[in-house]
């Protein structure tokens, strides 16, 4: 997908594309030499990136520093930068806090995020397949409509949605945060874009000639081709479902929360012990940090691909 987009190709014209193919021939290791800015960046680049990385990491370290101390640590004027030994006991205090219901929150977060991610991936691939590869009346306008829905803020529908779910008796139920998130406009758009580029029409024709039904064609041709994009969409959806706060905070019961809602309860006491709050923050972040450690590369390349390129 790093090939020049249509826009750049048009701006360049045929001639320029040809020259770029000649001048930027890949070297022996398959890299494209960068003629001007490529050679070797100086210390300034690494220093700036180092500062950025340090400021990205620092809050994690800070929460561990405070989270491993005790209630007095934060008031210590000569704060030692070496973590204390109380992290496990602070974490245990979070887990055992009856107001927080940690295990329940963890389970709710894992269950709802996984279900939402799986559902969004499946339905987005299905709809993306239809928009990208099947012909039907009104497809263009329906796709425009899908994209337009992305611009509508969540707050606009929150009041009636709450009334709707309380009519159904679903307030306080985890289903109330799962059901509205089962599909996503971004997902449909993303899969449409990807499938359009990655599946040759001949493959679909071949499947049809072999007598495959429309759905079978989707299962045997579309689904396997969509796998890389589906993995990224799944990751993104999982992360944003996991981090979602506004709607779960409104609709969920305090005794049956998701992790962000549970975290918010840690701070609601009149006296706030930050060593316990920040231990809880770190504890609730560990699952996502693990996910990032294993799949961060995918997430990065996903963002890189999803960007609007000039």
């Amino acid at each position: 997908m790093s090939a020049p987009t249509p826009t750049t190709a048009v701006a360049l014209g045929e001639h320029a594309t040809l020259t770029s193919a000649i001048t930027t021939r890949p070297d022996r290791r398959g890299r494209r030499p960068r003629v001007i800015r490529g050679s070797r960046p100086g210390w300034f680049v690494y220093a700036s990136l180092g500062v950025v990385l340090a400021s990205a990491l620092f809050p994690f370290y800070w929460s561990f520093l405070i989270g491993s101390g005790d209630a007095a640590t934060i008031r210590d004027q000569n704060l030692s930068w070496i973590p204390g030994g109380n992290f496990l006991s602070n974490a245990a205090a979070v887990i055992n806090d009856p107001a927080v219901n940690f295990w329940r929150a963890l389970w709710n977060s894992i269950f709802s995020s996984a279900l939402i991610a799986a559902s969004v991936v499946f339905f987005s691939t299905l709809a993306g397949w239809a928009f990208a590869k099947l012909r039907f009346r009104g497809s263009k306008w329906l796709l425009v409509f899908v994209v337009a829905t992305m611009a509508v803020p969540t707050q606009l529908g929150v009041v009636p949605l709450y009334i709707l779910f309380s009519d159904l008796g679903w307030t306080g139920n985890i289903g109330a945060i799962i059901v509205p998130a089962l599909t996503s406009a971004f997902g449909v758009f993303w899969m449409t874009q990807y499938l359009q580029q990655s599946v040759p029409d001949e493959l679909i024709e071949a499947a049809r000639v072999d007598g495959a039904s429309s759905f079978r064609t989707f299962l045997t041709v579309g689904l396997p081709a969509a796998r890389p994009a589906a993995a990224m969409l799944g990751l993104f959806t999982f992360v944003s479902a996991w981090n979602n706060f506004f709607w779960p905070f409104i609709v969920l019961d305090r005794n049956d929360p998701t992790l962000p809602v549970a975290l918010s309860l840690l701070q609601s006491n009149y006296f706030v012990d930050y060593s316990i709050v920040l231990a809880g923050v770190l504890l609730s972040t560990i699952p996502l940090l693990l996910l990032f450690a294993f799949a961060g590369k995918q997430l990065v390349s996903g963002i890189m691909q999803g960007a609007v390129k000039g």
């Binding site: 960046p41 800070w62 008031r75 099947l134 039907f136 803020p153 509205p180 429309s214």
Partner: protein, 354 residues
């Protein structure tokens, strides 16, 4: 031509059940595939939006779960509240303090990452790391660091001999602290989006510019920034929509979650939550939701116009004004269309029947 007689001798095809089934399959399945999205959007998206409008004209009774029509009174009430205007000011202040430095920083970091650095993936992952953290978690960490009495930032400032900043009592200081949380989480994400766009810029542009004697800064402002235009518009619009809806960070900035004793960091969404689920007045909350939507819409359009003017399009470096360019394009299209219908009518008809 050996095939022609063979074809003629074949029996006429019978349209069997299987064939008809597969034709229906072809016709209907696309609609079936896209229907989950549309059905769910109808129920959990479109219906609530329309119904918000209805509720906003009502005095909603929670017990009977219905309302009486009162026209624009809820809008008038919300607009007459000083708290609403404070919330509006706070929202804009936080939004500007977060999106402007964030985008400038993101462009800078992206330009650094766009160099031929070692361990590319490592740096990219490091930059994105804050993005996976829940905003609530980020808010809790930073509200601790920005503590008035024992916060890290104030300890640092007083260590330098500077006065401590009242991060929670001063409105602007609280906006700065909340904006820092937003910037922490989103800068890396925007960096990667901008980086992707930068990598799509053909390297020969820079080559040519260097031959013409342009320095790095000149190259950056004359090639990189104009080429980023569509991406910048995208990033600005998304951060506007997100920034004007900010809730998690101000909500978690202190333990009371009401936006400060004097509404120093009360935002519109926080106010919406307070009206709806603090005061249980759904009619007013719905009116506020619509006001917020209209504001977002207006700012979005304004953003689009301003960005279009400020950042030049890479393809538009001609003496023609946009209007002249459009007129020329129209004329060319019309000419092409007449030429086509005159010379190859067969092509157009087949296209029409497809």
């Amino acid at each position: 031509m050996p095939e022609a007689p063979a074809r003629r001798s074949r029996e006429p095809r019978r349209v069997g059940f299987g064939h008809r089934l597969s034709r229906w399959d072809l016709k209907l399945s696309p609609y079936l595939y896209i229907s989950p999205f549309f059905i769910l959007f109808l129920v959990t998206g479109l219906f609530p939006i329309a119904y918000t409008a209805v509720i906003s004209f009502m005095d909603w009774d929670l017990v009977r779960n219905t309302g009486t029509f009162i026209g624009f009174d809820q809008y008038a009430y919300v607009l007459s509240q000083p708290k609403f205007w404070i919330a509006l000011r706070n929202t804009f202040s936080i939004f500007l303090l977060s999106s402007v430095p964030q985008l400038l920083l993101a462009i800078f970091i992206a330009a650094m990452l766009d160099q031929n650095i070692r361990a590319k993936t490592f740096w990219r992952m490091g930059v994105l790391l804050p993005y996976v953290m829940a905003p609530v978690a980020v808010a809790l960490i930073f509200s601790n660091m920005f503590g008035d009495q024992y916060g890290l930032v104030n300890t640092f400032l007083t260590g330098l001999g500077l006065p401590a900043v009242p991060w929670h009592s001063n409105a602007f200081a609280s906006h700065l602290a909340i904006a820092t949380m937003v910037n922490f989480r989103w800068t890396g994400y925007n960096t990667l989006i901008l980086l992707a766009a930068m990598q799509a810029i053909p390297r020969d542009y820079y080559e040519a510019a260097a031959i013409d004697g342009a320095g790095r800064f000149r190259q950056f402002f004359s090639i990189t920034v104009p080429s980023l235009r569509p991406t910048l518009i995208f990033v600005i619009i998304t951060s506007t929509i997100g920034g004007l809806q900010i809730f998690d960070e101000p909500r978690m900035y202190d333990q009371f979650g009401v936006g400060g004793a004097n509404s120093q960091w009360l935002t519109i969404t926080l106010y919406l939550y307070d009206i709806g689920w603090g005061q249980w007045n759904f009619g007013r909350a719905a009116a506020l939701a619509w006001i917020l939507f209209l504001i977002i819409l207006a700012i979005g359009v304004l953003n689009l116009l301003v960005t279009r003017r400020l950042v030049r399009d890479e393809g538009s470096r001609t003496d023609l004004t946009p209007r002249q360019r459009r007129a020329a394009a129209r004329a060319a299209r019309a000419e092409l269309a007449t030429a086509r219908t005159a010379t190859e009518p067969a092509t157009t008809t087949t296209e029409a029947t497809r």
